[in-house]
């Protein structure tokens, strides 16, 4: 067994790793596999080093330390939010009981499953984004991509830590499987379908980080409420990083919209293709796609599994403790999206416990709306009348009540024929995708940026935009 201090150095942590023989042994076996996964499936673009933020502590000081580091030597740490000794379970049938610092045998299987599903998405997104470095619009953006990538790697570590530390032999086996599955693989794909699609271009990347990472944020938010305290504290810290990923998405789309708006205003035209920018209509189509696919990630409108998780205290609601109800929900009901008996888009009343997926999806939708409003402000201040908008919840759904029907972004129900005929107006077509791909030419020169996106207002950590964020080899 290696010297414990060595581990503290290599793996920044606040979980007393040096005292934990089990974990040391487990991570010792796991780390080489992780690194070979990173080499094989991580960012494809060769780099010498990247100006990265590393968390060495959960406090204000330690959370963001910046330096140029070779990505392979990134110190993937294990951090849990500070422990609240008096924390009690906030919901479900164990409400009011002390939070659990061990996995109750009764819930081992369910908790393990939840952690595995969350954990599986973390490396998946790295895999999905591995080729984007080849087409980065600037060193600044390239660095942001890598920052997201290493942090998703750290999130994987966080989930692996839980599996290794609390779930014994089974947990270790699952931790191994997290590295064996891979995005898009025929043999052993990632668990969730949406994580098996390659992120083909930077517009998709921003959309992904805005919409799909935001799903992650909401899932983490529910796990943060978990009665299983180590999971709760892990997720609390991950949420901090997830917020940064979403900022990458938010500001990324900001800058795409800004560039397009600028050209539209300047040339008084909708037609920005000639200027090497992305038409607003195409931005809307990408938005439609990523938003609707992300809605699917929340699952069906009703779920007995999720109801069981809630009752058991494994997974709460978003901002559980701010809700004003009994936190048991045994007698409440909720209106969920549904098809009426006539097959029309409508709602149905179900037991609140059964409808928790809907509850979470609604929180998410509201949050997504804020980004759209923000981009519309950019359009507005450019003096343009056009606006972006979120499509209807029934639009382009493959999961849940509306999976069986087709609907327009306005929520108008369509026949299959009508849908086939018109979907090209709402979702990216091959022509759109080809165009976007044609824009994806790398710009690695410091201070320079691609024509389809505006430069950021601020650099990273007080550095200017033309800082050399990435040293390529």
């Amino acid at each position: 067994m290696p010297v414990a201090a060595d581990y503290g150095e290599k793996i920044p942590n606040n979980v007393r790793l040096h005292e934990d023989r089990r974990l040391q042994r487990a991570l010792e076996a796991w780390q080489p596999n992780f690194l070979s996964w990173w080499d094989a499936m991580g960012p494809a673009l060769p780099t010498r080093d990247v100006y990265l933020r590393t968390a060495v502590n959960v406090g204000r000081e330690g959370w963001a330390q910046f330096a140029h580091v070779p990505m392979r030597d990134y110190r993937w740490g294990i951090f849990l939010a500070e422990r609240d000794q008096d924390r009690v379970v906030a919901f479900g049938e164990h409400k009011g009981e002390p939070a659990w610092d061990k996995v109750p045998g009764e819930y081992r299987a369910d908790l393990q499953r939840l952690i595995v599903i969350q954990g599986d998405t973390e490396p998946a997104s790295v895999e999905q984004q591995r080729n984007l470095g080849a087409t980065a619009p600037s060193l600044y953006d390239l660095r942001n991509l890598f920052q997201v990538n290493v942090e998703e790697g750290r999130h994987l570590w966080a989930m692996v830590y839980l599996l290794q530390a609390y779930f014994g032999r089974d947990g270790r086996a699952e931790a191994d499987q997290l590295l064996r599955r891979s995005s898009g693989s025929l043999e052993s794909p990632r668990i969730l379908g949406a994580f098996n699609e390659e992120t083909p271009d930077w517009l998709s990347f921003y959309m992904f980080t805005y919409f799909t990472d935001r799903d992650g944020k909401y899932q983490l938010g529910t796990l943060k409420e978990s009665a299983f305290d180590p999971l709760s504290r892990t997720c609390e810290f991950m949420l901090k990083e997830e917020a940064h990923h979403m900022m990458v998405g938010t500001t990324g789309i900001d800058r795409v919209v800004e560039r397009t708006a600028q050209l539209m205003a300047e040339h008084d035209t909708d037609e920005v293709v000639g200027h090497g920018a992305i038409p607003l209509k195409v931005i809307q189509k990408y938005l439609n796609f990523h938003y609707s696919v992300s809605l699917d990630l929340f699952g069906g409108e009703t779920s007995t599994n999720v109801a069981n998780y809630y009752t058991a205290g494994l997974k709460g609601r978003w901002m559980e403790e701010r809700r004003r109800d009994d936190h048991k929900l045994t007698d409440d009901s909720i209106m969920v999206d549904a098809l009426t008996e006539e097959g029309e888009i409508g709602q149905a009343e179900v037991a609140a416990l059964i409808g928790l997926n809907t509850d979470l999806r609604r929180e998410y939708i509201e949050d997504c709306q804020s980004g759209v409003s923000r981009w519309n402000k950019i359009l507005e201040s450019a003096g343009l009348p056009q606006r972006l908008k979120l499509p209807h919840v029934a639009f382009n759904r493959k999961v849940g009540a509306f999976a069986r029907i087709e609907a327009s972004p306005d929520g108008e129900q369509l026949s299959a024929e009508q849908w086939q005929h018109r979907k090209g107006d709402w979702l990216p077509t091959d022509v759109d995708k080809t165009y976007i791909r044609s824009l994806m030419q790398p710009v690695y020169e410091r201070g320079k940026i691609a024509a389809w996106i505006a430069p950021p207002r601020h650099g990273i950590n007080g550095q200017p935009f033309d800082y050399e964020y990435v040293h390529l080899t």
């Binding site: 023989r21 089990r22 042994r25 061990k102 996995v103 109750p104 045998g105 009764e106 819930y107 081992r108 299987a109 609390y166 014994g168 032999r169």
Partner: protein, 605 residues
């Protein structure tokens, strides 16, 4: 289970026998609180104040019997049933007509055990009745009707085990049981006779044998009755069908012709015939004429709400977790030099003592601690000593007492096999799962063996090891007739072979896991969590589903009369017990003796 006939509610033609029906109007109404009486019910010590209802105790001795009279005139012992009507375990019923409850059967079990171990001179045991005109009316109906489901099931299991023990004595101890049915034997009464090797029925034109459970009570003769009628006595199935739906029973020559009994004996020749038959069977017994029995003294037992202790066995009861931690300790001394020395030790001889303690513990926990659903077993001691005791027993197996001790251990392990609790064996350093004690791990639903040492153990502690011994290869079969090893490797003779080649070797966790002798071999780092999670997870599952799963997995391989009784017959009976047709307010069991007819749901399920 085997309740009886002769009720006033039916059209039974038994009036002429003077049978009033044990659940007749004379019985006290209402379910009374449990009263301490006869054998059962230990008085609570001061330390136990707060413990509610008294526990059933399985320890008794002939001087305390209230329901049986045991008379020994070598080579014959006569066990005469003479149930005290007011001697029920509970005040809610009267034990009329030699009907019985658990308390009556506890005495029967004690008598059977003592006859085997204390009385080598007894070669035939005659079971008969001390009452006029009635042999036994079977399990008390009111007791059954007012008992909780679990109580009925437990009661049936124990009575079944006792009757299997009677057959075991006949088959393996040279102590043959004869039923001298000197009055009507109905339901469980006839089932008791069925457990005997030879059934004599008095032919007085009124005594019959019957299985009236189905027509009268809407349940089954579940103490092996259905199984033994066809499988043991080989009554033709259509005749058996007729017999078991005919409340009034069958007597005389017809009972003989149908093989329901072996002989029907006129009243005038009764005593003489019974005596003659007893002598005939005695003459065939290999039991030594000059054998010296040992005395089964009272167990040195302490019992509180959260612990049970004996000399070699102890248990901690964790009611919050629903778990019992059982520790079985190996011998403290080396095995005696030879069988003669064994007689000196008497009931203190370790294999006998530990078996008695384990037997009592199983019965106590099974009956009194229904909610402790997981039994976690450990052993402690020196494997080599255990093996030395095993060798002594195996070498002396020609000796009647040695034979009895091995058979007793066999029966006790079988009791464990049919126990409706999750059994988990923990194999840690300092344990002695060797030979006979390895059977505990093999009987378990799962076993965990520590690989290596506990980090904080003394440096000299040796890693946990198990040893397969000759005891594991034959003398201690399960109810299905297979050794636990054989059943474990059913369909994989090579695996069994590999294990047999390692007899006597110390097997460390890695070897044991490779050979398939244990389930998991976590190391020190994983041990605590693996075990905790396994036990906690177990506690979260449906107790009923676990019981069903375990009972299925434990008995792989062939069916025997025993497995049929505990599997098919008991499982159907337990299902019927839970159904409204028997146990509902209008069900036959509840309506019996009220003068009202049962109302049945006619749907076949």
């Amino acid at each position: 289970m085997a309740p009886t006939a002769g009720g006033q509610g039916s059209g039974a033609r038994l009036r002429s026998d003077g049978l009033e029906g044990q659940a007749g109007s004379g019985s006290r109404a209402g379910s009374g609180s449990r009263a301490a009486s006869s054998a059962p019910a230990e008085s609570g010590s001061a330390a136990e104040v707060g413990q509610t209802s008294s526990r059933v105790s399985f320890q008794t001795e002939p001087a305390r019997y209230r329901h049986w009279r045991l008379a020994i005139e070598p080579p014959v012992a006569t066990l005469a049933m003479d149930v005290a009507e007011d001697g029920g375990l509970d005040a809610g019923y009267e034990l009329k007509l030699n009907s019985y409850d658990l308390g009556v059967d506890i005495e029967l079990y004690d008598a059977v055990q003592r006859l085997r171990l204390e009385h080598p001179e007894v070669r035939t045991v005659v079971i008969t009745s001390a009452k006029e005109k009635v042999f036994s009316a079977g399990a008390n109906i009111r007791m059954l009707a007012t008992s909780a489901h679990a109580t009925k099931v437990n009661f049936c299991k124990f009575t079944n085990e006792t009757r299997n023990g009677i057959e075991d004595a006949t088959a393996n101890s040279g102590q043959t049981y004869i039923a001298a049915v000197n009055g009507t034997a109905s339901g469980g009464g006839y089932e008791l006779a069925l457990a005997c090797q030879h059934i004599m029925l008095i032919d007085d034109r009124s005594a019959v044998v019957s299985l009236p459970e189905l027509p009268l009570l809407g349940v089954l003769p579940g103490t092996g009755g259905l199984t033994r009628v066809t499988d043991k006595r080989q009554v033709r199935r259509d005749l058996a069908d007729y017999f078991a739906t005919r409340a009034e029973g069958i007597g005389g020559a017809r009972a003989v012709a149908w093989r329901l009994v072996d002989e029907a004996v006129p009243r005038s020749e009764w005593d003489q015939s019974v005596a003659a038959r007893a002598q005939e069977f005695a003459a065939r017994s290999p039991r030594p004429p000059d054998g010296r029995g040992i005395q089964l003294t009272a167990l040195d037992k302490s019992r509180s709400g959260d612990s049970i202790g004996y000399r070699h066995v102890s248990a901690r009861l964790d009611h919050a977790a629903g778990e019992v931690s059982i520790t079985v300790r190996g011998p403290r001394q080396d095995a005696p030099a030879d069988v003669r020395a064994l007689y000196h030790e008497g009931d203190a001889f370790w294999p006998l003592a530990v078996t008695r303690e384990l037997d009592d513990l199983i019965l106590d926990l099974r009956t009194n601690e229904l909610e402790l659903g997981t039994w976690v077993m450990r052993t402690e001691g020196d494997s080599q000593r255990v093996l030395a005791y095993d060798r002594l027993l195996l070498a002396g197996a020609g000796d009647w007492l040695v034979n009895e001790i091995i058979l007793y251990l066999k029966r006790t392990l079988k009791r464990l096999d049919v126990t409706s609790r999750s059994l988990i064996a923990l194999i840690e350093p300092g344990s002695c799962y060797a030979g006979s004690l390895l059977e505990l791990a093999l009987a378990a639903d799962r076993s965990y063996m520590l690989a290596g040492q506990f980090e904080d153990s003394e440096p000299r502690a040796e890693a946990a090891a198990i040893v397969v011994g000759d005891m594991n290869l034959g003398p201690l079969p399960m109810g299905n007739g297979l050794t636990r090893l054989h059943a474990r490797y059913l369909g994989d003779p090579d695996a069994l072979d590999r294990v047999c080649k390692q007899v006597g070797d110390l097997l460390l966790a890695e070897d044991a896991e490779r050979l398939g002798l244990i389930t998991f071999a976590p190391d020190d780092i994983d041990w605590e969590d693996e075990v905790r999670i396994a036990v906690e997870e177990r506690a979260s599952f449906s107790a009923d589903a676990l019981t069903g799963m375990e009972a299925n997995y434990r008995f792989s391989g062939p069916e025997t009369m025993e497995t049929k009784i505990f599997g098919r017959l008991a499982a159907w009976q337990n299902w019927i017990f839970a159904r409204p047709n028997a146990a509902g307010p209008d069900g036959a069991l509840r309506r019996y003796g009220t003068g009202q007819r049962a109302r049945f749901d006619r749907k076949r399920v």
